[in-house]
Amino acid sequence: MTNRRDFLKGSASTGALSFLGGASLLSALGQNANAAQVSGYKALVCLFFLGGQDGHDTVLPYDQTSYDAFAAARPGLLAEYAAQVGGSTRTRDKLLALSPSNSADFSGREYALPPALSPLKALFDSGDAAIIGNVGPLVRPLKRAEWDEGSIPTPARLFSHNDQQSTWMSLEKEGQNFGWGSKFIDSAIASGANQNETFSSISLSGNTPFLASENSTQFGLHHSGAPSINGLRPNYSTLLGTSRQQSETTALLEEHYKNLGSQRANLFERDVATINKRAIENNAFIQQSLDNGQTLTTIFPTSRLGRQLEMIARTINIKGSLNVGRQVFFVGMGGFDTHSNQVTKLTSLHTQYAEAIAAFNAAMVEINMNDDVTLFTSSEFGRSFVENGDGTDHGWGSHHFIVGGGVKGNAIYGDIPAYVKDHEYDAGNGRLIPQTSIEQYAATLGKWFGLSDSELAAALPNLANFTQKDLGFMAGGNT
């Protein structure tokens, strides 16, 4: 990565401008159909609900028939909602009814969001948010009869948390996987989107398969910033005690921390050395850029997710200093495995993420980046429609949100099955067989991000098994 930057600097200074950014120029002119279109700036933000969010209790039925069916199927949970202080948030009159522009597509079925998602409802109404119904991992289209027969291949290790997280992020069970987020960014990098590749893919939640790549590295950023070694600099190193003012010793100590110089035989040593070196070389730079960046006036909630999305907003705001034209961010939020006590847990989680997403959206509007940044939600699986008393169990397909100025909002894409059991997309106990594949979901985002059809096909191996490659929820895409 340093090599590329140095090379570009070098060519510019020697006047070799015809070479500079040749690939990006070509793709900007639309002359290379096989390369990503990387003009301007675009970012994808993957918000992952760890544990498996219950889609049935997130996008709720609103028409009386559907609501009654839902209430009949979940008496235990509705009783618990009714017992909450302030009364139930799940009575029909408390639900926030949606009026999607494509309401005619749902055969009279109507949908609503729970009160805790009201900030997200406002974004839906204003056209900055859309819902994608019943999306999940598939090898190819599938219905109940084929599932029962086992006649069509399905993703490995369904219903297992770690494997389905990995599948959502990288289309494979847990292993040596490269995520579709990283494949998207690698295509953009190959087209010359980022003069500095270090900050192309950034995780706020530790190492993630979504951003693991053969060709680039994910950068781990903490919501409080990028830490540096205390006492090493500036001026002198207090770590050296009585030798603190010796610049030679300080330089040697810095070199130690960078772990430069020795090629290590042991592969684990090599990896920890690589990470240390990357941290020392890059943390101070990004932290200084953040410190120098314009302060956002948008107030974020103080929740962990609020702070994480604030850090992403601040990072997008310094894209010029970071020298990036395309970025992919990842942030995970835990707590969605609501086998028990779903009523309290999910309501709190809804409140937290709706408020944080709304603040993030406001910040993007504030810095005039809303059209160029798309946040989308995901989760390893939905949950069973059948309840276990005070919770729900591991499912498969679920409903998700896409948020940003580039989203064709106020609409529901895909389908949301009836709130009953044993329909043709029920894999048992109301675990939804997805009607839309993750890969269709990803392809729609990837196309907006600038990837060519061939790059999308390479990043999403099963996309070819689905007719509709663009679900139409992004501006500039097909419908």
Partner: protein, 584 residues
């Protein structure tokens, strides 16, 4: 010391000579010089050579790195030249150091409506880990807590329940895995953590079904895993070359019925909201809430109307008897103690000890009861396997593991002779501190701090097809936060609640200060003590060169501080270097 060294260097030679002289009688063919002394030197009493474990300072250090929370110089000195089998048996026979009784006493002294702070559990545990005599049991407790995970994250209201869980692990550490599975499954803490406490049987009228959480995780994470395994841990493949999944969701819904009707033993199924003594007793079945339906899973069917306890025992037996159990558990234990990527042969040998419940120690004595799942046999096999004890020079580039961050901190305290730790006084050792990405018994989920199958995709280990569990929590932020964390302790700037200089967890650098004037000697001392002489030689040369730029102004009033500065920097460099961060 001299005596011990003599023993080390003479004993193997003695053995060779006596063997050779014996062979002479029948074959009259032995290398030169063998015939003169052999007959006059008595063979070692056990009939075998000393195990490689305690042969040299280096091997002793490295064995103790795996089998304890880190060696001390006195530990190395006293064990070198002795028999590792003796040490292991002694560890097995040490009593447990339970946490719960202390907390019960502390609770009794509190007003009725006050609870014990959760951090008391980690305080007491870390005190034991640092200074306790039962080192192998303490290590085993941590290892088990990362396999059968319960996180104290949700236990603010039930600290004694969590303490009971930790003690359950510790008590079963050298017992049997089947008993362990039974005890943890009856533990209220597990019931709360995996949500099957108060789990109701299904109700056909309302459509309610039992909670599936524990049924899934006891299979996937605690016993058999997701795919069929050979005894050496490699996946079994079907005729098409595909992995074979061990269960499907029908098994889960079937097994879920077993774990219905359990709650704390206070006579009231629904009333668990008090941290009373029933939180540190096994849960019981409440018959009216236990499913009376047929329970079908893993190829077995428990007939309708079987009681809770009976169903539980049948289910546990079915799970425990699964052939995956030995390789599944064995591999993870090897990963916790020795290396992230044990060879199939190594896994197979440990699995065999687990399977037959016995293991022949290096001195020829046997450990284990002969019952499948014996953890003495299993851990002895993990620690004394030839792959674990191979010579440092011959270790391949894929051997070893990233040290767990928490263990690094305890390594430091032990290496520098903290014998009276007061963890409770250390602000940074609070169970809420996230800088290390690891706090004892506080994993973010049942999937632990890191997964045993984590692959650092795109990195050197990932490209080589290796798993690297601990690397899952190493990134640009955590790598630096660790440096700052450990430096606070090394430099004695970690804040304590009491003002007293001696409060908290502190180092004694006397031995290092005594040799601080000689940078090479200081580095040699730390290299042995902390890494078992595994520092990269080029890196070590640079460390020495750096220390040599730090003058010790002998005869001036800064000389003591100069030496202390050198010692601080030297320890910090070692404990932040790849040669230390990776245990080999």
């Amino acid at each position: 010391m001299t005596h011990v060294l003599e023993l080390i260097f003479t004993r193997p030679k003695t053995l060779t000579l006596s063997l050779c002289s014996a062979a002479l009688l029948s074959l009259s063919a032995c290398g030169g010089g063998g015939s003169s002394g052999g007959a006059t030197i008595a063979p070692p009493p056990t009939g075998t050579t000393i195990s490689k474990a305690f042969k040299t300072e280096q091997s002793t250090q490295q064995f103790l790195t795996r089998a304890s929370f880190g060696p001390t110089q006195s530990g190395i000195d006293s064990l070198m030249g002795t028999e590792v089998s003796t040490w292991l048996v002694a560890e097995f026979n040490k009593p447990t150091a339970p946490i719960l009784p202390t907390l019960i006493t502390e609770k009794a002294a509190l007003p009725e409506d006050e609870r014990i702070a959760l951090r008391r559990i980690t305080d007491l545990y870390l005190d034991n880990a640092i200074a306790g005599d039962d080192q192998l049991r303490q290590r085993m407790t941590l290892a088990l807590s990362e396999i059968v995970v319960v996180s104290s994250g949700g236990f603010n209201s039930f600290p004694l329940g969590m303490a009971y869980y930790v003690d359950t692990l510790s008590e079963n550490a050298f017992g049997n895995y089947e008993d362990l599975l039974k005890d943890i499954s009856y533990s209220p803490a597990m019931g709360l953590w995996l949500t099957y406490i108060q789990n109701e049987k299904g109700d056909a009228d309302t459509g309610r079904v039992p909670d599936e959480n524990y049924a899934r995780e006891i299979l996937q994470l605690f016993s058999i895993g997701l795919i069929e395994l050979n005894m050496d841990g490699t996946p079994k493949l079907d005729s098409a070359g595909n992995e074979v999944e061990t269960f499907d969701n029908d098994d889960i819904t079937g097994l879920a019925k077993v774990f219905t009707g359990m709650s704390v033993d206070n006579g009231r199924f629904y009333n668990v909201y008090r941290d009373r003594e029933n939180w540190y007793q096994p849960m019981v079945f409440y018959p009216e809430h236990h499913s009376e339906l047929e329970k079908t899973f893993l190829g077995t069917t428990i007939p309708a109307n079987t009681s809770g306890p009976e169903s539980f025992d049948l289910a546990l037996k079915q799970i425990f008897d699964h052939p995956n159990l030995a390789p599944f558990v064995s591999k993870q234990l090897i990963q916790r103690f020795v290396t992230s990527n044990p060879s199939p042969a190594y896994i197979g040998r440990v699995a065999s000890a687990f399977e037959i419940g016995r293991y022949v120690l290096p001195n020829g004595n046997r450990v284990g009861t002969g019952r499948r799942g014996d953890l003495r046999a299993t851990i002895a096999a993990v620690l004394t396997d030839a792959q674990a004890l191979q010579d440092p020079a011959s270790k391949p580039a894929d051997f070893g593991k990233v040290r767990e961050p928490l263990i690094r901190v305890i390594n430091w305290a032990r290496a520098f002779n903290e014998t009276t730790p007061d963890t409770a006084n250390e602000y940074y050792l609070s169970d809420r501190n996230t800088a290390l990405r690891q706090t004892a018994f506080r994993a973010p989920s049942v999937f632990n701090f890191f997964r045993p199958g984590y692959i650092a995709a795109g990195m050197a280990t990932g490209d080589a097809g290796l798993v690297a569990p601990e690397l899952q929590i190493v990134n640009e932020s955590s790598a630096i936060e660790y440096v700052n964390f450990i430096n606070r302790f090394i430099y004695d700037t970690s804040p304590t609640y009491d003002d007293d200089d001696e409060a908290g967890v502190n180092a004694d650098y006397t031995a290092q200060l005594a040799i601080a004037d000689n940078a090479q000697a200081l580095m040699d001392n730390l290299d042995l003590l902390l890494t078992g002489n595994e520092l990269n030689s080029e890196a070590k040369t640079k460390m020495v060169a750096l220390l040599e730029t730090m003058a010790v102004n002998t005869g001036t009033d800064t000389e003591d501080d100069d030496r202390l500065s050198r010692v601080h920097v030297a320890i910090s460099m070692v404990m932040t270097s790849p040669g230390y961060l990776v245990q080999r």
